[in-house]
């Protein structure tokens, strides 16, 4: 079965043209015109990637994002009006893995989707199990345990943790993490890293406000310490 992409967009013309462009990439595209439609469609059949426009009538994009995130760790790309508003942070906090601003080129969207799919499918077969205090990371199985209990991470959060874990004690800058996890270059949005680190901390840190595993090194980046 091919890759399924669910696009949630209320403007029919955009929806159709984006569908055509994504189908040219060889993907199967399912359309939803509203938040309700999207949730119904997703419940009916899970997608591999979800594309959500934040500005939706009825249930807005943030709520759709949160609802899907509660049920699944599917990669989500959201579409926002502007890069410099709080929308981006709000969307990332609602569970989106990446974002695009309107108007974007479909080529850019395809690149984002490919990066997300790569991340979702990458399990490092030979990678050894890693232990940091109570934190246990098993890359091969895509499993993280905290004091013996499974912790549920999204693919992006997991990828981020593994990047930090394979360089224990070394500081990784935002730029490096952006490149290795998201496939962005130097000019990627550092907020992607910051928000995902924050979300990661709420899941693996006993006290997210005073992290003991994923620590911030001021002005340089992040590192994982045991």
């Amino acid at each position: 079965m091919g890759t399924r992409i669910l696009t949630v967009e209320d403007d029919e013309r955009i929806r159709t043209s984006v569908r055509l462009a994504l189908e040219d990439e060889g993907w199967t595209v399912e359309e939803a015109a509203s938040g309700e439609d999207a949730l119904n469609a997703f419940t009916r059949e899970a997608a591999d990637v979800v594309l959500i426009d934040i500005m939706l009538p009825g249930i807005d994009g943030f709520d759709v994002c949160r609802a899907i995130r509660r049920a699944s760790d599917v990669p989500i790309v959201m579409v926002t009006a502007r890069a410099d508003t709080h929308d981006v942070v709000a969307g990332l906090e609602a569970g989106a893995d990446d974002y695009l601003t309107k108007p974007f080129a479909p080529k850019e969207l395809s690149a984002r989707i490919r990066a997300l799919l790569r991340r979702a499918r990458s399990a490092d077969p030979g990678a050894p199990q890693m232990v940091f205090g109570d934190l246990e990371i098993i890359p091969e199985e895509g499993v993280v345990r905290l004091a013996g209990t499974d912790v549920h991470l999204t693919k992006t959060e997991f990828r981020l943790l593994v990047e930090l874990a394979t360089n224990p004690g070394r500081v990784l800058s935002r730029e490096v993490l952006l490149e290795r996890v998201w496939g962005y270059g130097y000019f990627g949005d550092g907020r992607l890293v910051d928000v995902h680190i924050r979300r990661l901390r709420t899941k693996i840190e006993p006290d997210p406000a005073n992290p003991r595993y994923v620590v911030t090194i001021r002005g340089l980046g992040y590192k994982l310490q045991s």
Binding site: R13, L20, R82, A105, G185
Partner: protein, 469 residues
């Protein structure tokens, strides 16, 4: 002529002048009447006294004078008179006269007084003998065909009057100066609200559209303040409406642009199956959709400044690395000159600074010529990014307007269209301004031909790692 000069003076100078003039007139009037009254009182008093003394003396002379008394014998008579200092008796018997003092002799008696006395009337006159002011009283002694004259010097009165005059004039001058000072103070006070209006107008002109005047304590000024504030409000409304309009239009354009971009891409995916004519048409369409998208993106970006929603997202940026990365991403060949700098960390908005560098490089590539150089340096608390080219440079007359929106320069046809949207350099100026810096263009520093665009931004406080997220 005077009117013209007067009209050219400032309001404050005129009010001060009027106050001074008023003060001068008033004090002069008071001074002159004071002097006149004082003179009258003092002089009359002195005349009265001199007259009564003279009358008394004349009585004595008359008593001592017999019918046969010769002029040679009157010396004793005169000696026995009550003569105060500064008074000089003179006795005339027949045609002969006898004076007691050289200072007042027969020649000093004015002829009109002499005639009056000869006619049998007493009289007095003010005269000046050898520069000395005298009151001369003449009293006829008809029984012996004699006349008694007495002169009283009034120079002490003159002295008093002169001193008084000087004092009064001094007071007048002081009063005039005081009036001028008062006028100056009053006009300054009266014009203070105007000064506030001026400051408010300047602030409005500088783009502080929410500038308003405080309601004044003075009811006379309330209408001025009210109409100023009304004007500012409608100006603000109007400018905001225009800005919102531009912003809304650009937002509305995003959806059709999305459709256009996606559809053009779908067409391009199937370009190979098209006829040559269709391919040409598609290429034209693709180019213009791309340009149109860039224009709308720039419009959206710049309208954020107009609507006031542009906010700086500062993070620590190492400009040395930043410029290297920018150049790596640039479609043009660019040389970097960072000198001996290893790192230069500033608090900046990476997305916006990237656009600044990209637009300046783009501008240099399109309207300059030769090698494009990006120079990084610092000066005091400022970081410098300069983009140089080897083109014809920018004429001085255009250097100020080149950062205006849709400005069209003469050299190179259309220098100023950084991104081809006509907004490239305007966006550069807005982005740099948001960082609290400035940008300008001049000639290359090494004197060779070419333009140098210099961006200067404060290094700023490096924010904490996660504060800006």
């Amino acid at each position: 002529m005077i009117r013209r000069l007067w009209g050219r003076l400032g309001l404050r100078a005129r009010i001060t002048g009027l106050y001074a003039l008023g003060g001068l007139l008033l004090s002069l009037t008071i001074a002159l009447s004071t002097l006149t009254l004082a003179r009258q009182n003092l002089v009359e008093d002195r005349e009265e006294r001199a007259f009564s003394v003279a009358v008394r003396n004349a009585q004595r002379v008359e008593n001592g004078l017999g019918a046969e008394t010769e002029i040679e014998d009157v010396g004793v008579l005169l000696d026995n008179l009550t003569i105060t200092e500064g008074s000089f008796p003179l006795l005339q018997v027949g045609d002969a006269t006898r004076a007691l003092d050289q200072a007042f002799d027969a020649d000093a008696v004015p002829s009109s007084l002499r005639d009056l006395v000869q006619a049998g009337n007493a009289g007095r006159m003010r005269v000046r003998v050898n520069g000395r002011p005298l009151i001369v009283t003449g009293i006829p002694i008809p029984d012996t065909a004699a006349a008694y004259y007495e002169a009283a010097a009034t120079d002490d009165v003159e002295d008093v009057l002169n001193t008084l005059g000087i004092i009064v004039l001094g007071v007048s001058a002081a009063a005039t100066l005081l009036s001028a000072a008062l006028g100056s103070w009053a006009s300054r006070r009266a014009l203070t609200p105007l000064g506030e209006v001026r400051l408010a107008a300047e602030s409005l002109a500088a783009g502080e559209l929410d500038t308003r005047l405080d309601p004044p304590a003075d009811a006379d000024l309330a209408s001025l303040t009210a109409s100023f504030n009304g004007m500012a409000r409608s100006l603000e409304d109007r400018i905001e409406r225009d800005a919102r309009f531009a912003s809304e239009v650009s937002h509305e354009l995003r959806s059709p642009l999305m459709t256009l971009n996606a559809s053009v891409e779908v067409l391009n995916n199937n370009r190979d199956s098209m006829t040559e004519r269709n391919q040409t048409a598609l290429d034209l369409l693709t180019d213009d959709v791309t340009r149109f998208t860039a224009l709308v993106e720039d419009l959206l970006e710049i309208s954020r400044y107009d609507v006031g929603t542009a906010s700086l997202r500062a993070e620590p940026i190492d400009l040395v690395e930043f410029v290297r990365q920018s150049v790596d991403h640039s479609p043009y060949d660019v040389v970097i000159d960072v000198g001996a700098l290893q790192h230069l960390v500033v608090a900046g908005d990476k997305r916006r600074l990237a656009q600044v560098v990209a637009n300046l490089v783009d501008n240099a590539a399109k309207y300059g010529a030769g090698e494009i150089r990006v120079v990084v340096g610092h000066e005091d608390d400022f970081a410098i990014i300069a983009v140089e080219d080897e083109g014809p440079g920018v004429p001085e007359a255009e250097r100020g307007v080149i950062f205006d929106r849709f400005s069209r320069g003469s050299v190179g046809g259309r220098r100023g269209h950084g991104t081809g949207s006509g907004l490239g350099l305007a966006l550069v100026a807005e982005h740099v301004g948001l960082h609290g810096g400035d940008v300008w263009v001049d000639d290359r520093l090494d004197g060779s031909e070419g333009a140098r665009f210099t961006v200067r931004i404060p290094i700023g406080d490096i924010p904490d790692d996660e504060e800006w997220a």
